[in-house]
């Protein structure tokens, strides 16, 4: 091509780096040079540091707090206790789940690590000295860490503040430690179906307590400018606008006087959705001292006190015909919420989207009941890389399917295929009330089984079992299957809100006169690469190269209101808003192009990066030329400028799905496992950036590996956290992490403007059952039905031991 040859259609498409292109990330130049700007990098003149005195006890009365010695420590400027916050009515704060939580201990403490006093000092060492010098006298109370014991008649009363309250935010409370009972589906019909069934499998499936543990902990910098009355709050917030609204409601500062900034965030995974006492105390401390105040928790505080995930005891009953056609599903969950109900769920869903627990299967009738319970454990219950309890739901159904396969003496892959919702059944109405948008499960499943040579693996497994029985090997082979369906992209305002704010999202675009652009969204990247991928959506929609589009998020003074990034909602919701705003730009550009080309609006059509006269492609105006004209020509009936805003209220959720297969070798004498192969097929609808999708899959699978194979927040009977450091809390290294093979099918969402469904959390949702099922499957031939996660070496050794394999 010489300079005079016009670029071809394909060259113009490639130049945009739009949807479907594995565009390299624009964020990386900064991050690879250490030029990220995370909250702990924020440094302001005169900045002070806050640090917490935390409770060593899981349940105790606070008899007295003596701060005199702490105030005498050089550098310590203030020590806040509940007494100081009470006049401001900030000693308690509302939670996202409609409960309330102590900001600082008000008379008693309810979990180990609870915030008792907040010390403000000139640097972090002085603050730590101050913390050491605060003297707190406690009187211990009986502790309950088991949710079943918490519901016994004589159990200790945890929440004295709720005395006499027989109903809470989600209906009736039947016991002093009961939070709510949430029910979906038809229990009578389900019981009847199960009662009449030929085959029934019953099992208790426990999904243990764990923690999102992003590499960067939570923190903030609060700066109250007393001269102009403005509060600026930098923080590790996955939902900055919601934080602004909450901060305004709590503090009484008008919302326009609060600016919340989420700078670069070092991973979130749900840990950074909620509002923590550290934020409130830092704001108060800044108002009191007139100086900026930074608070960054350390790792131990992060693991002990900020939001945990899971802790669901799921009792299941699944019924089927002799041939393996499922006839009913019953699930009852005892949900351990810790000391305060601080789950991050849409308001009307106290157990999140646990009701997606019918999974990928056509189950005619089902029932779900969830009892929320208080215990002396940290509050939370966030969606750790999942959409509101979807991972619990997927783990439950994928375990129940395996148990049913055992009961039926049937191959678990065949049982799944027999019960999948068929392609022609979409949109599919589930027994628990969801409308699945689209799917093609059989195609994905067949592709996955073929890719790993499933039949060959089963033959190898059978041979291995025989060899083991003959004493020729001490290793077993497990084949872990999963077919998951997620529900993401919360969500339609008609049923999804957080603290009353509808869960829409937003995008605002400005095209500059020379044809480049800036777009701002209501979401915030924590590593997902929004600055790269949202520009790709816009590039395809408006015909301006992605490299010429700046994406900005996370500053509430400039970005349009949005509900933030979690629950895989950025692509389904904000991505849709971007596409819709792009289409508004395009509509106006069409009018401008028609005017410039002196034809009727309908006589031009969009072609990659330009509008062309229909039937005469040599007559065109590029988006660049149109942008310029928007600012320098008086066009009759058209306002100058080229900008658009879209607030997108999704009509439905999206339902990504996938088929995962894990092949695992297990040494029965040491309990050590080795993952020989991991195959992950994801269908997230239209793919925006395959490179980024693959990266998300690798990361999510590794978090799933951690959860399934060792990671937990464990407590002893008196409420001590046994896994408070990275020494005890398992995070896999490069050494323990296997190589993954990723694959895909594409079934676009019919209701999403670009057909995308979201992928960030699928690998965690599907990965956990795949790893866990591999462990179970290895021992199936020896009679194992169910063994709770995490499957660390000791617990796997224990399985082998209990099955008599060491005799």
């Amino acid at each position: 091509m010489n300079d005079l040859t016009p670029p071809t259609h394909d060259e113009r498409v490639a130049n945009l780096k739009g949807m479907g292109h594995s565009r390299k990330r624009v964020e990386d130049a900064r991050f690879t040079q250490g030029k990220g700007n995370y909250v702990d990098d924020v440094k302001l003149p005169g900045m002070l540091f806050g640090d917490f005195v935390r409770s060593p006890y899981a349940h105790a009365r606070v008899v007295s707090i003596d701060t005199a010695a702490a105030m005498a420590v050089p550098g310590v400027l203030a020590v806040l206790t509940a007494k100081d916050l009470a006049p401001l009515n900030l000693h308690w704060m509302p939670t996202l789940a409609g409960d309330k939580q102590m900001v600082l201990a008000d008379g008693k403490v309810l979990f180990q690590g609870q915030e008792v006093a907040y010390v403000v000092a000139t640097d972090r060492y002085a603050a730590a000295d101050g913390v050491e010098a605060v003297v707190v006298e406690y009187s211990e109370l009986p502790v309950v860490t088991d949710p079943f014991k918490a519901l016994e008649p004589g159990a200790p009363v945890l929440r004295e503040d709720l005395a006499g309250q027989t109903s809470g935010a989600h209906g009736a409370r039947r016991h002093h430690n009961h939070i709510f009972k949430w029910e979906v589906g038809d229990e009578a019909a389900t019981d009847q179906a199960i009662g009449e069934a030929e085959v029934v499998a019953e099992e208790m499936v426990y999904y243990h307590r764990t923690h999102p543990c992003p590499l960067e902990t939570c923190g903030c910098v609060a700066s109250m400018d007393k001269i102009n009355g403005k509060l600026t709050l930098w923080g590790t917030f996955q939902a900055p606008h919601v934080v602004r609204t909450v901060a305004s409601l709590l503090s009484g500062i008008e919302e326009h006087n609060i600016r919340v900034i989420s700078p670069d965030i070092g991973g979130g995974f749900g840990n950074k959705v909620g509002v923590y006492p550290g934020y409130i105390c830092s704001i108060v401390a800044s108002i009191v001292t007139g100086k900026p105040v930074k608070w960054v928790e350390d790792r131990m505080e992060n693991l002990m006190a900020t939001a945990f995930a899971r802790d669901y005891w799921m009792k299941g009953k699944i019924s089927a015909t002799k041939e393996g056609k499922i006839t009913g599903l019953h699930c009852h969950v005892t949900a351990d919420h810790g000391a305060f109900d601080a789950c991050a769920d849409p308001t009307k869903f106290p157990a999140g989207f646990m009701s997606i627990c019918t999974g990928s299967y056509d189950i005619p009738v089902a029932y779900l009941g969830v009892d929320g319970v208080y215990t002396n454990k940290a509050p939370g219950g966030v969606s750790y890389r999942c959409s509101f309890r979807v991972t619990e739901a997927a783990y439950f159904i994928e375990r129940m399917i395996e148990v049913l396969a055992i009961e039926l003496n049937m191959d678990a892959a065949e049982l799944r295929a027999k019960n999948f919702i068929r392609k022609d059944q979409f949109p599919y109405q589930s027994a628990l009330g969801w409308e699945y948008d689209s799917g093609d499960y059989h195609t994905a499943w067949d592709k996955a089984l073929k890719a790993v040579d499933y039949d060959g693996l089963r033959r190898e497994q059978a041979t291995r079992v025989e060899a083991f029985k003959r004493g020729e090997t001490r290793k077993l082979l497990g084949i872990g299957l999963t077919h998951f369906t997620e529900i993401v992209g919360a969500g339609p305002i008609k049923n999804c809100d957080i603290l009353g704010m509808g869960m829409f999202d937003s995008c605002e675009i400005r095209i500059h006169p020379t044809g480049s652009a800036i777009a701002r969204l209501g979401t915030i990247s924590q590593g997902q690469g929004h600055a790269t991928t949202f520009a790709q959506i816009l590039a395809s929609e408006i015909g301006i190269p992605a490299d010429s589009i700046t994406i900005e998020e996370g500053d509430t003074d400039t970005a349009p209101y949005g509900l933030g990034t979690y629950g895989s909602r950025s692509t389904p919701v904000a991505g849709a808003a971007a596409a819709m705003a792009g289409r508004k730009i395009r509509a106006k550009a069409q009018m401008i192009a028609a005017y410039l080309l002196e034809v009727h609006d309908d006589d031009v059509e969009f072609d990659v990066d330009r509008f062309v006269v229909k039937g005469a492609p040599e007559r065109f105006k590029t988006m660049k030329a149109i942008a310029y004209a928007a600012y320098n020509q008086a066009i009759p009936g058209v306002e100058p400028g080229l900008e658009a805003v879209s607030y997108y209220d999704p009509p439905n959720m999206t339902y990504p799905f996938g088929a995962y297969i894990c092949v695992m070798e297990i040494d029965v004498d040491t309990g050590v496992h080795e993952i020989r192969q991991f195959y992950a097929l994801d269908d997230c609808g239209t793919r925006i950036n395959p490179m980024v999708i693959e990266g998300q899959v690798h990361g999510g699978l590794t978090e799933a590996l951690a959860i399934a194979m060792g990671q937990e927040i464990a407590y002893d009977e008196i409420g001590n956290v046994k896994t408070g450091t990275l020494m005890d809390f398992f995070l896999p290294t490069a050494w323990e992490t296997p190589h993954y093979t990723s694959d895909h099918t594409v079934t676009p969402s019919p209701h999403h403007p670009i057909g995308a469904k979201g992928v960030g959390e699928s690998p965690n949702v599907g990965g956990v059952p795949a790893f866990s099922n591999a462990v179970h499957d290895a021992f199936r031939a020896f009679g194992l039905r169910q063994s709770h996660m995490p499957h660390d070496h000791w617990r796997i050794w224990r399985i082998a031991h209990d099955l008599g394999l060491h005799d």
Partner: protein, 163 residues
């Protein structure tokens, strides 16, 4: 607490800082020298986010007192790029999507930089083992390993071309 003067050469520049004996090297680098590339993920030597190079060795600077580093030569992520631009590793991490949130990245690259000096032609296994002191919560390591192996190949190819 009495402070003492600590002399450090960081990324080729000489510094004298006044610090308490209990002050950790990571805090001196971040708070006193404004080198915020190395991060804090645990302060207990587990995560490697704070990795810097100290006298030719990778160290976790959260577990070194600044006074112990008196007189030392230190390189942080800010000193990895040369006057000619980004180091091959930095480019390779971008090229192969070896990072997501970026929080582990400065420590990862600083560690990989030393690894490749000690073992210019590593296998995948060498890389996985040699990087096991650095945790990443986002990437699942696969693309980090790929980035490092690709950087090694590129460095070796240009060395051979020069010879």
């Amino acid at each position: 607490m009495t402070k003492s003067i600590i002399k450090l050469t960081v990324n080729g520049e000489n510094h004298e800082v006044l610090a308490e004996p209990r002050e950790l090297l990571i805090h001196v680098l971040r708070e006193r020298l404004n080198l915020t590339g190395p991060h804090i993920g645990c302060e207990t030597t587990h995560c490697g986010a704070c990795t810097v190079e100290l006298n030719g060795k990778s160290v976790k600077s959260c577990t070194v007192f600044a006074v112990q580093a008196n007189g030392a030569e230190i390189t942080t992520i800010e000193g990895i790029a040369g006057p000619a631009g980004l180091h091959v590793l930095q480019q390779s991490f971008r090229e192969h999507h070896g990072l997501q949130c970026g929080f582990c990245t400065p420590g990862m690259i600083t560690r990989a930089w030393r690894l490749l000096k000690e073992n210019p032609d590593p296998t995948e296994e060498d890389v996985r083992f040699g990087m096991a002191g650095n945790l990443c919560r986002c990437t699942g390591y696969q693309n980090i390993v790929k980035s490092i192996l690709a950087a090694a190949a590129e460095i070796n190819a240009s060395r051979e071309a020069a010879e």
